[in-house]
Subunit: 123 residues, 2 copies
DNA sequence: TTTAATACATAAGAAAATTTGGCATATAGA
DNA sequence: TCTATATGCCAAATTTTCTTATGTATTAAA
């Protein structure tokens, strides 16, 4: 059985901050790429963040299933090199949801930065 | 009885993204301000983010208690205008923890931005 | 005197991710 | 050939964390 917990090479703390952002990250990636499969998403995030962020499969797949159940994502299966892949892409309504989720996340990030960059107050 | 749920004027979505960041936000504010009390923290965040982020008391107070129990924060009570205030400040070890937590959060924000700003891939 | 603001606190429940396990195929190395 | 690694999907139990809903109490303004 293969060793799975690659996570420990990442910052434990940053993983904590992921809470709540996972759906938005998935939606953003699916706006940038027409279709992606689960494993590909985990690798993409790892690549973009130079290994600093690692989506766990235990978190990702339930999220994908939930988004599909909500009608935000649709799927199509394909067999590649003898291995199954399940591609996800945004539905029509999914595109709208993705845009609003991503813009809200961007706003949140901007608010976080305001807090982090805050100069010491006098008093 | 006073009306409590001021939260509905904020973005529900952004509140979701808060998950996991609350402690780090508190620690950052306490690095910028020698001491703060709970209610003050909620108002400070509201002020900094122009009302876009609202820390709920139900989330904040347990977090403050947890950080105190961990030895990150210490408290002192004071009576102001007939009302009790519980001031929190960073302990010595708290300062170190605050620094690492905040820098990790900053890294996380930077990673999020990489994901959000990602240009569409070819293919 | 009722409402709103200030100020603390707790408890039940939901939401979301983690942990930990499972299944299966392909490939490279010892 | 045996093993580890990489690829690819999934689910259940648990834990963490926040939301929602209260409770208590003082001050001030309408």
């Amino acid at each position: 059985m293969a060793y799975r917990n690659v996570m420990y090479i990442c910052s434990m703390q940053q993983q904590t901050y992921l809470k709540g952002c996972l759906s938005a990250i998935v939606l953003q990636l699916l706006q940038d790429n027409k279709r992606m499969y689960g494993y590909e998403i985990t690798q993409k995030v790892r690549e973009i963040t130079a290994g600093e962020l690692q989506l766990t499969e235990g978190a990702l797949y339930p999220t994908l299933h939930k988004l599909e159940a909500e009608g935000v994502l649709s799927t199509e299966n394909s067999l590649v090199d003898g291995r199954n892949r399940k591609y996800y892409k945004l539905t029509e309504t999914g595109h709208q949801q993705a845009q609003s989720a991503v813009s809200e996340l961007a706003d949140f990030v901007s608010n976080l930065q305001k807090i982090l960059n805050l100069k010491p107050s006098l008093g």
